[in-house]
Every structure is written in structure tokens, then in C-alpha cells.
């Protein structure tokens, strides 16, 4: 029963409705057939009763004179004539019995000889039966009529009728009903199947587009489908398309905002980088001057060249880090230990300004299958967020680990904890909602990128102060940016 129920629930609407129509038709047809047949049976029985009554009236009247005189021939002659006269009743035999139960005469004298007694089963019908007794199985009916003259019983007329033709008519009606109903059921089922398929076809269009949208490849319903659809579905299609366009615009806007944030961050980094480059530049210029003046002295030259090399190496580090982060990525790149190692250079302006201590625990030992660019941007964003939140001389703990094919990066600061706006921005980014106005753009961007990595970013505040932001991302998975978003972005930029 449960299995049937499950099968029924799993059945598509295009099958379910025709099946219900068929079941309903069968039920209605069965009920109608029953009513028709039962009514027909009643009518036939009533008709048979009246025919049998008329037949017995005629036979009784005809045989009464013979019965009164116990005249065998006259009685037989009456029966013989009666049988020919009543074509409507197919009497197989008619027997006239004397009051003592003996046959006076019968239309079939060889079957019921004069003065014989009826067989017991028929005699019982005569004793018990009044009017008409039917046996549809045998296609026979028996009718009995007592004949009284004044107050005396002078005899009984007993007849067996063949009702097989009547039953054949009923059977014919039954088969006609069955065939017609079967035909109607088949027609209704096929028509129902076709109609429902037509009716639910627009739903399957929406369903396919929703599935595509759910898997990140939303597509607009074509103009061809829109023109074909009924008014209700046409409106639904238009609303669906409007929804997809709205979402694409939001995505494009978010990408744009992220880009702007990236540019803003780039500006900040450029100024920091300029500061970092400028700081050693004074010393380097002095070193050049020193070489120019005292370059002939071996010890001075070597010390000065070492200084120059260290200074230029620092500048090189800063420039390379910036280059790796912001050059246009040709495609996803595997994350290496070094991709994270140069991040401290990018934030050294922030850490240096507040004299922060960076506790750097990069535990990555080998290349891992995750988008390096996205991970670097997330890490950079949360590090910058930690720098901004940390008090002077504070400590920032950075920890990157891989365990069970999951990359985990956590950044802990001892700032005042995360404000509600930061949490809301991160939640909005994770839900694919629009970018927040004002603060929190960095966390929103990081959250969105975490979703792209099929990962998750959690925000934890310490018991009194401080906050930890953890990125968890599985290795080897990434969601692609959809065509619609790309197109919308192209619209906005183009």
C-alpha cells in the first residue's frame, strides 16, 4: 500500500491526471452500467411477468372447459393451439395437472405422459411457486397458475419458459456498455494525457530554467516560448525573466563594487607600497653617493653594495607581491606556499604604522588544488581588516593549514571585536545579496569569494575582545561565474 502510494506520488502529473480520468471514467461507467443493467433486468422481469401472466390467462381460459370435463384431448388441443398463438412467450412446455397432481395433458406429452406425476423438483415448484420463478443460470422461468371454479380447485397449469433470449439481450447490452465504456475510457485517458501534457509543458520549461539557474547557469526563457505560452504562463515567464535579469544585474553590480573595492585597496596599497619603496630609497641614494665618493675603498664598497642589495631586495619583494596580486589572472592557479608568504609585504605598511606583531604560521607544505588568486584576495582582505581593527602594538595571528582536503585560513586580532555591520556584510556576501553601503565591503567581497570556492567564512568574536575570521574551502572545487553575470558585467563595463 505504501509502495503504491509512493509510486503514485512519484508519478508525473501528465500520467497521474489521465490515470485519474481513466479511473473516474471506469467508476462512472461501472456505476452507470450497473444502474442500466439493473433497470433493464427489472424491466425485463416486469415484462416477462406480464407476458407470463397474459400467457397463463389465455392458457387457463382455454383449458378450463377441458379441465372441468377431465377431457384429455380438448385440454391437449387447447395447449397445442396456445403454444402457436403466443409467439412472445417461448413456452418449452405447458402441463395441466389435475387436483391430485396427475398430468391431465401436456403440450409435450412424451415428456409428461397423461396420468403421470411431475418429477419431484418440478412438483416442488408447483407446490411452492406462485407466479414466476426465475433461474437465470439455466435461462429458464417457471410459472404456475391454480385454476378454481366456484370455490373448488379444478386443476393447475404449469409452464416452463425459455428466457435465454431475454438474457441474451441483457448480455448484449452488458457487452455494448463494456465496449463503449472501454472505448470512452481509452479516449478520455489519451485526451487527458495529451491535454495535461500540453497544460504542464510550460511548467517543465520553468522547471528546466530553475534547475539551470540553481546550478549557476541561469538562462532567459526565449521569445519563442513566450509567444507560445498561454496568458498565465506568459506572465509567469516574464516574471521569471525579470527575476533572472534582476539577479544578473545585482551580480554585475556586486562584481563592479568588488572591482572598485579592489581598486580602492590597490590605491591604499600603492600608497603603502610607495611608502615602503620610498623609505629605503633615501638610504639607497646615500649608498650610491657613498659609492660615488668612496667606491675605491674595498670595505666601504662592499658594505655599501650589501646595503644596496638589501634595500633593492625589499623593494623587489613589495613590487612582486603587488604584481602577483593584481595582474589579470589568466585562469585559476594552484595555491602555493609562496602565494601566501608574500602577503606580509603587502600589509607591512599597515603593520608598520601601528607597530603590530604578525604571528605568521603558514603550514602549507605543497601546492594545493584551489584558486590561488581568490584565496590571496580573501586572506589579504581579512588581514587588512585585522590590521584596521587592531590597536597599536597589537598582535595578529595568521594560520593556514590543510587537513582532510580542506584548506583552513584563520586570522585572529586583539581588536574590539566584530561590529554588527561587519557580520551583516559577510552574511550578505555569502547569500549573494547586494553589497553594503559604507563599511564592510572587504568582508562582503571575501564572503562572496568564499562562496565561489564552495567554501564558508565564519566570524567569531572573542570572550571580551578580539575576533577570529576563519575561511574553510574544500580542495578541487570551484563554482564558475555564470554567463548571465558575465554578460551583465560586460553590459555595465562596455
Amino acid at each position: 500500500m505504501n509502495r503504491l502510494h509512493r509510486m503514485y506520488r512519484a508519478m508525473p502529473l501528465a500520467l497521474k491526471v489521465p490515470m485519474l480520468v481513466a479511473v473516474l471514467t471506469v467508476v462512472v461507467a461501472t456505476v452507470i452500467s450497473q444502474v442500466v443493467l439493473s433497470r433493464l433486468a427489472q424491466e425485463q422481469e416486469a415484462s416477462l411477468r406480464s407476458l407470463a401472466t397474459a400467457f397463463m390467462d389465455g392458457v387457463s381460459t382455454a383449458v378450463t372447459p377441458g379441465l372441468l370435463r377431465q377431457d384429455v384431448w380438448e385440454t391437449f388441443d387447447s395447449l397445442d393451439r396456445a403454444r402457436r398463438q403466443y409467439g412472445a412467450v417461448k413456452a418449452l412446455y405447458v402441463v395441466v395437472l389435475q387436483p391430485n397432481g396427475q398430468v391431465l395433458a401436456a403440450s409435450e406429452p412424451e415428456q409428461f405422459p397423461v396420468t403421470s406425476n411431475l418429477p419431484e423438483d418440478l412438483a416442488n415448484l408447483v407446490t411452492d411457486g406462485q407466479g414466476l420463478t426465475l433461474d437465470e443460470g439455466k435461462g429458464r422461468a417457471w410459472t404456475v397458475r391454480q385454476i378454481d371454479q366456484e370455490t373448488f380447485r379444478i386443476g393447475t397449469v404449469f409452464a416452463e419458459l425459455d428466457i435465454s433470449e431475454i438474457l441474451a439481450v441483457r448480455n448484449e447490452v452488458l457487452w455494448t456498455l463494456i465496449l463503449v465504456n472501454a472505448g470512452l475510457t481509452a479516449i478520455f485517458s489519451f485526451a487527458g494525457y495529451g491535454l495535461v501534457r500540453r497544460m504542464v509543458a510550460p511548467l517543465s520549461v520553468i522547471q528546466q530554467h530553475l534547475i539551470a539557474a540553481g546550478s549557476g547557469r541561469p538562462e532567459l526563457i526565449s521569445d519563442h516560448e513566450l509567444r507560445r505560452a498561454a496568458p498565465e504562463y506568459g506572465e509567469l515567464y516574464q516574471r521569471f525573466n525579470a527575476m533572472i535579469r534582476g539577479q544578473a544585474e545585482r551580480e554585475a553590480l556586486a562584481a563592479e563594487l568588488a572591482n572598485q573595492e579592489k581598486l580602492a585597496m590597490l590605491g591604499r596599497l600603492a600608497s603603502g607600497m610607495a611608502h615602503e619603496v620610498n623609505n629605503p630609497l633615501g638610504g639607497l641614494m646615500n649608498a650610491v653617493d657613498t659609492l660615488d665618493i668612496h667606491g675605491d675603498k674595498e670595505s666601504v664598497r662592499r658594505r655599501t653594495v650589501d646595503l644596496l642589495r638589501r634595500g633593492l631586495a625589499g623593494i623587489q619583494n613589495v613590487v612582486r607581491a603587488a604584481l602577483v596580486t593584481y595582474k589579470a589572472a589568466p585562469g585559476p592557479k594552484r595555491l602555493t606556499r609562496d602565494d601566501l608568504e608574500d602577503l606580509p609585504f603587502l600589509i607591512q605598511h599597515e603593520t608598520g604604522a601601528k607597530q603590530l606583531v604578525l604571528d605568521w604560521q603558514n603550514e602549507l607544505s605543497q601546492d594545493i588544488e584551489v584558486d590561488a588568486s581568490a584565496v590571496r584576495q580573501i586572506a589579504l582582505n581579512i588581514l587588512l581588516n585585522a590590521c584596521a581593527a587592531s590597536p597599536e602594538h597589537g598582535t595578529i595571528l595568521f594560520r593556514a593549514t590543510v587537513k582532510d582536503s580542506v584548506l583552513s585560513i584563520s586570522v585572529t586580532d586583539d581588536g574590539p571585536g566584530l561590529p554588527e555591520t561587519a557580520r551583516a556584510a559577510a552574511a550578505a556576501g555569502a547569500a549573494g545579496a547586494g553589497a553594503p553601503v559604507g563599511r564592510g565591503l572587504g568582508l562582503w567581497t571575501a564572503s562572496r569569494l568564499a562562496v565561489r570556492l564552495n567554501g564558508k567564512m565564519t566570524l567569531q568574536s572573542g570572550p571580551s575582545q578580539g575576533a577570529t575570521i576563519v575561511l574553510v574551502a574544500p580542495l578541487g572545487e570551484e563554482r564558475e561565474e555564470t554567463n548571465v553575470i558575465a554578460a551583465a558585467r560586460a553590459d555595465r563595463t562596455g
Partner: protein
């Protein structure tokens, strides 16, 4: 045979006419002649009755009414009471009332004024002797019929039997054709029938008659005669009737009648022709059959 004639009483003719068959026209009281018919032969042949009535009217030059009754007894009673001028009766009533009735003419069957009585049984029945009929349901034609009752009753009487003792049950069908029907249908297991009727019907209705077969043929006996009251024998009308019957083969309509009846003609015969029947009657009277 010498025949005397006398005028018929108008009242008798009128009374007879009132019993006439519907298709027989009512004639004037003075000239109408009433002629009774028993079911001795083919009683349902309307064409035959028309032809016979037509022939007699024309031959006797007066209107003739044919009067038909279901039993021999009724016709005999009408004849004896003078309500009929003449009647075609059976030999048995003739010998029963020999003192009151006289012969007008006797039909010639196969050239003789004689016929036989048959005892018939269903054709499938395997018996050869009449005494094997004991315990049967037996159909007689009429209690006043020679061939349909008297012959069989006399046969039994010869062996000190009666129909009531010998047969399980007997009944009368009041028509020889009905005896054949009763035996053919199985209503009766045997029957006593006019041999002439059985033979004629065997040619006309073979489907019915072939269901029966003749078990015993009696000796030849006087054919059912046309009789009148002995006192009326010399009347003009009876003379005309006798002439018409005897000369029936000389007229085309008459020959047609004869052809239908399958008779050869009519003849004036002596009353001794019925001596055989009279003997049988005496026998059953003696034995109380």
C-alpha cells in the same frame, strides 16, 4: 333401391337452416334442405364444404344447408329429431338406430361401399400385436364412431375385455384427424382411427401421418352412410339427394368433390352392408363393453 318422396315440412327446414354454417345462404322455408355432416372425414376443409354445398344445391335444384356438429351424437340427435333432412353419419349410429333410420346412399371407396378401422401407434413403437397395447393411453375418435371406437371395443369384447380394463386410460378426440395428432404427439400411445381418413391424410399430410403406423387393420365394414329418417325416405327431397349423390361423378363440380374426398362415387346399397357393424354392436351390448 326404391325410393319414395314426400314434401318436407317447412318448419323442419327452417330450424335446420338456423344451424347452418355461416357461408351457407338462407333459403326459402319451402325449398331449403338441411344436410348434416359429422367429423367422419376431413372436417376442416372449408373448400370441400363449399363445393359439396354448391353441388348439392345445383343438383337438387334447391338451396342446401350444411349443418356440422362436433360429435356424432349431436348430428344423430338432430337427424332423429327431424331437424335435419339427411345426414352423413357413421355406420355405428346407423345400426344403433336402424329402426328409425334408412340408408339414402353409401360412398364408394376404392370401388366398394366398405372401409376398415385401423389401430395406429407411433411409428417408432416396436410392437406387432394388438394385445401388446395393454396399459396404453388410448385415443378413440368418438363413442358413436364405428371405426374410432366400436371396432376396438368389439375386438376387446371378443377377448372378454373392455377398454377401461385393457387400457390405462382412454379419451375421445372427436375427430379421426385428432386421433392421428394425439398418437403422433405422444399424448396417446395408440389410437383407433378410420382407415379411410388415415389413408387420405397419409397422402395429404405425410409429415403428420408418417409419425404413426398402422398396427392392425379390421375387416372391411360398411362405409359411413348418408341416412335419413326412415319415414322421410320417400320424400321428393330425399329422392333428389339420392339422385344427386349417385350421379355425382357425372358433374364436374361433383367430380371435384369426389376428388377432394378421394371417393369413387355413391351408391344405393342394402342395409346388410352394415351387418358387420351390427354384429359388433350386439357383441359389446352382450358383453357390457
Amino acid at each position: 333401391m326404391d325410393m319414395k318422396r314426400r314434401k318436407l315440412l317447412g318448419g323442419v327446414a327452417g330450424l335446420a337452416a338456423s344451424q347452418a354454417l355461416p357461408f351457407v345462404g338462407r333459403a326459402s322455408a319451402q325449398t331449403s334442405f338441411s344436410f348434416g355432416l359429422t367429423p367422419v372425414f376431413l372436417d376442416s376443409d372449408i373448400e370441400l364444404l363449399n363445393e359439396l354445398q354448391g353441388y348439392l344445391s345445383q343438383a337438387m335444384k334447391r338451396s342446401v344447408s350444411l349443418v356440422k356438429r362436433r360429435t356424432y351424437q349431436e348430428i344423430t340427435a338432430l337427424l332423429l329429431s327431424g331437424e335435419l333432412d339427411a345426414a352423413w353419419i357413421c355406420g355405428f349410429p346407423f345400426v344403433q338406430h336402424a329402426d328409425k333410420l334408412a340408408l339414402v346412399a353409401v360412398p364408394l371407396y376404392r370401388g366398394k361401399p366398405l372401409y376398415q378401422s385401423y389401430i395406429i401407434v407411433p411409428s417408432a413403437r416396436q410392437i406387432t400385436e394388438w394385445d401388446q397395447l395393454q396399459g396404453d393411453i388410448h385415443a378413440f375418435s368418438d363413442p358413436d364412431s364405428n371405426s374410432g371406437y366400436l371396432v376396438t371395443a368389439a375386438l376387446l369384447a371378443e377377448h372378454d375385455l373392455t377398454p377401461a380394463k385393457f387400457f390405462a386410460k382412454t379419451f375421445f378426440t372427436y375427430g379421426h384427424r385428432n386421433v392421428i395428432r394425439a398418437v403422433a404427439s405422444g399424448l396417446a400411445q395408440s389410437g383407433s382411427v378410420d382407415g379411410y381418413v388415415w389413408d387420405v391424410m397419409n397422402a395429404r399430410e405425410p409429415a403428420l401421418v408418417s409419425q404413426t403406423k398402422v398396427l392392425r387393420r379390421s375387416e372391411l365394414l360398411g362405409f359411413p352412410p348418408i341416412a335419413c329418417l326412415r319415414g322421410n325416405l320417400d320424400t321428393e327431397e330425399i329422392g333428389q339427394l339420392a339422385d344427386a349423390l349417385v350421379s355425382i361423378s357425372k358433374n364436374e363440380q361433383g367430380r371435384k368433390v369426389l376428388a377432394m374426398l378421394q371417393l369413387d362415387g355413391f351408391a344405393v346399397e342394402p342395409e346388410s352392408t352394415f351387418a358387420g357393424i351390427a354384429a359388433k354392436y350386439s357383441l359389446i351390448q352382450l358383453k357390457g363393453g
